[in-house]
């Protein structure tokens, strides 16, 4: 529920790199919270012919730009996650040298992916989706097991998402860029899985080893069902325009 946005573990300093966004998010939170009762009928009415623009949902749009915004949304989630990881007590007090080196690089890469998409979508003459507000279970950033389990979930999800959305891209250059990023996500996923359990880089939960040894890609609707559990009300994704 929405209250997690305000009382959850996301420390105020987590957003120091984006000071302009916080007041907007809080204002929109109160706007939605206050309007909920009166707007219910309107919401339901809206659902009848178009549930793409439900209040509280972020619609990534359609076509190539929709896929780019979908990717931008997932990169926002990952970038925010590693930003908070590096401020959490696992990273600051117990991570090994190798783990810190890896988590630092993942932080750099995902922040670069996030702001690259924002710039690229803008450069393409389209409008990037807004900055998203994340929510995590309490204690996510304080233990090695919870940080790595969440990182594993995000990286595997990212790979499955890019692989599943490639078919919706119509411009070769965009598909090529998605390919340049997804293999980095797969490299991330493999080493994070190894950190969780040595030798688990192609686990049977994500690669069909008993069959064709293909990654098990996921449709956007499946991906956002997971991604939305880490996104606050007002930031949850609607991908019904893709595919």
């Amino acid at each position: 529920m929405s209250h997690k946005t305000l009382s959850g573990p996301q420390a105020p300093e987590a957003n120091l790199d984006q000071p302009l966004y916080t007041p907007i998010k809080r204002r929109s939170f109160f706007m939605y919270a206050g309007a909920t009762a009166g707007a219910t009928a309107l919401v339901l009415a809206g659902c009848k012919d178009d549930n793409n623009n439900m209040p509280g949902m972020v619609n990534v749009g359609t076509g190539d730009v929709g896929v780019l915004n979908y990717a931008y949304a997932l990169e926002q989630l990952e970038a925010d996650f590693y930003t908070q990881v590096r401020m959490g007590s696992y990273y600051t007090s117990s991570a090994t040298a190798a783990e810190k080196q890896i988590l630092d690089d993942l932080y750099y890469h995902e922040v670069i992916h996030r702001d690259f998409f924002k710039a690229a979508i803008t450069a393409a003459g389209a409008t990037p989706i807004k900055p998203l507000t994340t929510v995590y279970p309490a204690g996510t950033f304080s233990s090695k097991s919870s940080v790595l389990a969440t990182a594993k979930a995000f990286e595997d999800l990212g790979v499955a998402a890019y692989n599943g959305a490639g078919q919706y891209i119509t411009t070769p250059q965009y598909l090529y860029i998605a390919g340049k990023i997804v293999s980095i996500e797969a490299r991330h996923a493999a080493i994070i899985r190894d950190l969780v359990k040595e030798g688990d880089f192609v686990g049977s939960d994500i690669v069909d080893i008993a069959g064709n040894s293909l990654e098990m890609s996921k449709a956007p609707s499946v991906v956002v069902a997971t991604a939305n559990t880490f996104l606050a009300d007002g930031s949850k994704l609607n991908v019904s325009g893709l595919g």
């Binding site: 890896i102 690089d105 670069i112 078919q167 490299r187 493999a190 190894d194 040595e198």
Partner: protein
Amino acid sequence: MNFFDILSEIEKVDPEVYGRLDSRRSIFKHMSGVGQKLTAAALPLFVGAVFNKAYAQTPGSLAVNDVLNFALRLEYLEMYFYQQRTALTGLSSVNASALSLIATDEANHVKFLRGVLGSAAINDPTAAAFDFSGGKGTATGPFSDYRTNPVTYLALAQSFEDTGVRAYKGAAPISSVMANKTVLTAALNIHSVEARHASHIRAMRRAGANNSTPSQGVAVSPYSSAPKSWVSGTDGGGAVPGTTNAIYGAGNSSGAGTAANVTYLAEDNNVQGGVTLTTSTSPAFSGFPTTAFSEAFDEGLDVKTVATIANLFVVTGNNLFSVYL
């Protein structure tokens, strides 16, 4: 006569059939337009004309089966390479298990691609086609101790996996692949598995072949012998600088085996989609190491450049990869 049954049958052996035809819808359009004018007797002629047009080769662009067969050739190279792992000495058991896992994946990829291609698949080149020492059949190339020395073996493994990642990435935007969503998605689902392999092999090299906790190695610049799990710049020339540099270098961006409007740059590229990525591109990038910007993106390679690299490991006289040169 059911035209769509014919298409379905062809699709079983040629997954690209709908891509070769203008589109399923346009066939509908043609059919409805001509249906009134053509007699039943003349219909086969019309069908023949549709396929003659569909199967005429577009100059400079590979058909989807050509791309799939190219992928199959690479998977054979990897499969036969990993079959050579059994005489290695000094591998930790966790590392030996990892190589077995990768060997299974590559064999599965061969089987999968053969299944997709059906009768269009190339013949099995057999292990005799390859000389993983890089000696073209003499077995005395720069990697001559690869069968027993895990340092050499893992250097080759990293080279093959990184090449594979670049190959699938470079081929995905080729128009015949993009036109077939089933093939494209399968290719992407192999591509990411190769990237997982590459990441893990790099971890093994970073920590050392006999290490039992390969994830805990620390990478050391210039990342030739203790690489990161991703390519940093051009990794100081790769696992064996001077021999493996091309694996991290630039490709050709025109001719057969390239995608339209795609430029195949070296791994140290930091311009993506027209956006130059440096510490000043975004306030959030302030203080980032400059290497992070190229690390965050892998680069693809065109078919010809990949074939040139792979051909180093094929015996003289075998045209497995030289047909693409």
